[in-house]
C-alpha cells in the first residue's frame, strides 16, 4: 500500500495505526457530509422532477404539503416506509432482498471518489468556531481534499462501480420470477453492455488530455482562461466527447429517453414491478443518486469542476460545482419530460452504429492531436 499507485486515502494513516487527529476528524466530517448531501439530493430531485414535469405539462404539481409543496418528498418517504413489504411467493427470497441493496450500495459507493471542491484549509473555520480554544485543535493547516476518498485511479473506480450497479437491476428482474421483471432485467444488461463502451471511450479522451486518472488532477488541469475570459474547460476541446458522455450517461442511469428497463407502457414497471415499500424506495434512491454521480463526473471531466467562469473567494469553489450539477440535473429532467422513449431496435442501432464509431473516432483524433500538436 505504498508508492504513487496506492489507494491510501487522507493523510491520517501513519504506520498503519489510526490516530484521531483533527485532520482525520475533518475528513470524517467531509465523508459524512457527502453522504448526507447525497441522501438529500434524492429527495430534492424528486420534488424538482415533479415540479418541472408539472410546468412542462401545464399543471401545478405538488402544492399541498408545505409551502409550494416543498415538503412533498418527506410525505413520500413516510408513505414508503409505512407501506407493506410484499414478495411474490415464487421469488428467490435471498436474491430478491439483496437486489435493492446492491443497487443502492453501488450508487453511493461510486460517488465516494468524486471530488466536489478544491483542497480546502479548515484552519480558519476552526478558529472562527473556537475549536482550537475548546478542543485544542491544531494541525488543520494541511488542506483537506473535499471528497469522501482520494483515490489515484478514481475515474476507473467510478467506472467499475457503476458497472456493478447493473447487477442490482438484473438480480431484481430475475429473482422476482415475473416475466415483466425478467424482460426489464434483460434489457438493462443489454443496454449496459452497449453503452458502457462508448461511455468509457468518451472519458478516455479526457484522460489522454489531462494525462491522469485522478479526478482532482483532471479538474485542476482545467483552471485558468484562454484569452483571459474563456475558461479552459475540456468541453470546449472535447464537445463530441461531452455529448457522447452525456448520452451514454443517460443510458447508463436508465433515464428517459433510454428508460427501457422500466418502460411503464410496455413492462408495467420493468425490473421493479414486484417491489414495494422500502425495497422499491432503494431502487428509486439508486436511480437519483446515479443521476447525481453522472452529473458530478461530467462536471469534473468536462465543465471544469469547481473552476468557474470567474473566480470565487478561496474555499467557495464548491458553489460552482453545485451550480453546474444543478444545471445538468435540470437538463436530465427536462429531457425526460420532452423526449419520448426510443424503440428498442433504435436504441441498439444508435448505440452500436452511431455512438460507438463516434466515440472511437473522437478518441483517435484526440490522441493524434495530443501526440502531434499538443493543446
Amino acid at each position: 500500500m505504498h508508492g504513487p499507485g496506492s489507494l491510501a486515502c487522507g493523510h491520517a494513516r501513519d504506520g498503519g495505526a489510526l490516530k484521531m487527529t483533527p485532520e482525520l476528524i475533518a475528513q470524517l466530517i467531509v465523508i459524512g457530509f457527502t453522504f448526507f448531501m447525497l441522501l438529500n439530493s434524492a429527495a430534492v430531485l424528486v420534488y424538482m422532477e415533479r415540479k418541472v414535469a408539472a410546468v412542462i405539462q401545464q399543471r401545478y404539481g405538488p402544492y399541498l404539503v408545505g409551502p409550494k409543496g416543498a415538503l412533498q418528498p418527506l410525505a413520500d418517504i413516510i408513505k414508503l416506509i409505512f407501506k407493506e413489504e410484499l414478495r411474490p411467493k415464487s421469488a428467490d427470497a435471498f436474491l430478491f432482498y439483496l437486489a435493492p441493496i446492491v443497487s443502492a450500495t453501488a450508487a453511493f459507493a461510486a460517488f465516494a471518489v468524486v471530488p466536489w471542491g478544491a483542497d480546502t484549509d479548515f484552519s480558519t473555520l476552526a478558529r472562527l468556531l473556537f475549536l482550537d480554544r475548546i478542543f485544542g485543535f491544531t494541525g488543520l493547516e494541511h488542506p483537506i481534499r473535499l471528497a469522501a476518498a482520494d483515490v489515484n485511479v478514481g475515474l476507473l473506480v467510478i467506472f467499475s462501480i457503476t458497472a456493478m450497479g447493473v447487477y442490482g437491476i438484473v438480480l431484481a428482474g430475475w429473482s422476482s420470477n415475473s416475466k415483466y421483471s425478467l424482460l426489464g432485467a434483460l434489457r438493462a444488461s443489454a443496454q449496459m453492455i452497449s453503452y458502457e463502451i462508448s461511455y468509457g471511450l468518451s472519458f478516455a479522451a479526457v484522460i489522454m488530455l489531462a494525462g491522469s486518472l485522478s479526478l482532482a488532477t483532471i479538474v485542476d488541469q482545467q483552471a485558468g482562461y484562454w484569452f483571459g475570459f474563456i475558461p479552459k474547460w475540456y468541453i470546449f476541446i472535447q464537445p463530441v466527447g461531452f455529448f457522447i458522455f452525456l448520452t451514454a450517461g443517460v443510458a447508463e442511469t436508465n433515464r428517459a429517453p433510454f428508460d427501457f428497463p422500466e418502460a411503464e407502457q410496455e413492462l408495467v414497471a420493468g425490473y421493479h414491478t414486484e417491489y414495494s415499500s422500502m425495497s422499491f424506495a432503494m431502487f428509486f434512491l439508486a436511480e437519483y443518486v446515479n443521476m447525481v454521480t453522472v452529473s458530478a463526473v461530467a462536471t469534473d471531466l468536462f465543465l471544469g469542476g469547481w473552476h468557474g467562469p470567474f473566480p470565487l473567494p478561496d474555499g467557495f469553489g464548491w458553489v460552482w460545482f453545485l451550480a453546474k450539477i444543478f444545471v445538468l440535473l435540470f437538463f436530465y429532467i427536462w429531457m425526460r419530460w420532452t423526449l419520448p422513449r426510443y424503440r428498442y431496435d433504435q436504441l441498439m442501432e444508435f448505440g452500436w452504429k452511431w455512438l460507438l464509431p463516434a466515440a472511437v473516432l473522437n478518441l483517435l483524433v484526440s490522441a493524434y492531436i495530443a501526440l502531434r500538436v499538443g493543446w
Binding site: 467499475s160 438484473v170 444488461s189
Partner: protein
C-alpha cells in the same frame, strides 16, 4: 492488518470459487463468480496494484459477467440438468466425467508443484514491480507489444469464429 486482510480475502476467494461449481442453480453460480472476482480484486489491492484490481472489476465483474448473466437469463434454466445421478461414483462415471476428474487431478498436481517451487525460489529483493498506469502501459505497448498484438488477433479470430458458428443459415 495486511495479513488478516489477505486471509479473509483468500478465504472468500477460495470458498466462492468452490461454491461456483457446487451450485446447481446457474444464476447463483454466476453471482458467486462475481464475488470471487471481487475478492481477487481485493487481493490485488493488498498487493499494491490498484490498477490491476480496478481493471479486474471493470472487465471481468463488469463486462464479462453481465454477458454471462444475460445468457443465463435468456435461457432461463432454473437448475442444471444432471445426466448422471447424484449417487454415481466420483471416478467411475461416464466419459466426460472421468476426463474432468483426470483434468482436475492434473491441475491440482501442477498447482502443488508450482507452490513448492515458489517456496524454493526466493523473490529477487529490491525489484518491486511498477504498478502505476504509465509503467504498465509502457511495459505493455513497448516491451510486450508483440504478445499484446498477438493476443488481440487471437481474440479477433475467436470472435469471427463465434459469429460463423452462431449464424443460422450458412451462405452457399
Amino acid at each position: 492488518m495486511d495479513a488478516l486482510l489477505f486471509w479473509i480475502l483468500a478465504a472468500v476467494t477460495v470458498a466462492s470459487a468452490v461454491l461456483v461449481i457446487g451450485q446447481r442453480n446457474p444464476m447463483r453460480s454466476v453471482l458467486l463468480l462475481i464475488v470471487m472476482f471481487m475478492a481477487l480484486a481485493g487481493l490485488y489491492v493488498t498487493l499494491g496494484s490498484p490498477f490491476a484490481a480496478v481493471v479486474q472489476i471493470i472487465i471481468y465483474a463488469g463486462a464479462i459477467m453481465v454477458l454471462f448473466l444475460f445468457v443465463v437469463m435468456l435461457l432461463n434454466v432454473p437448475t442444471e440438468e444432471t445426466p448422471i445421478g447424484r449417487q454415481a461414483r466420483l471416478l467411475g462415471g461416464v466419459g466426460p466425467r472421468r476426463f474432468g476428474a483426470l483434468l482436475s487431478a492434473a491441475l491440482a498436481l501442477e498447482l502443488f508443484w508450482a507452490l513448492g517451487r515458489l517456496g524454493a525460489v526466493a523473490m529477487p529483493a529490491g525489484d518491486t514491480p511498477e504498478t502505476t498506469v504509465k509503467a504498465i502501459g509502457l511495459r505493455l505497448f513497448r516491451d510486450y507489444a508483440f504478445a499484446f498484438e498477438a493476443t488481440s488477433v487471437l481474440i479477433l479470430v475467436a470472435m469471427v469464429g463465434a459469429v460463423i458458428l452462431a449464424r443460422k443459415e450458412p451462405q452457399p
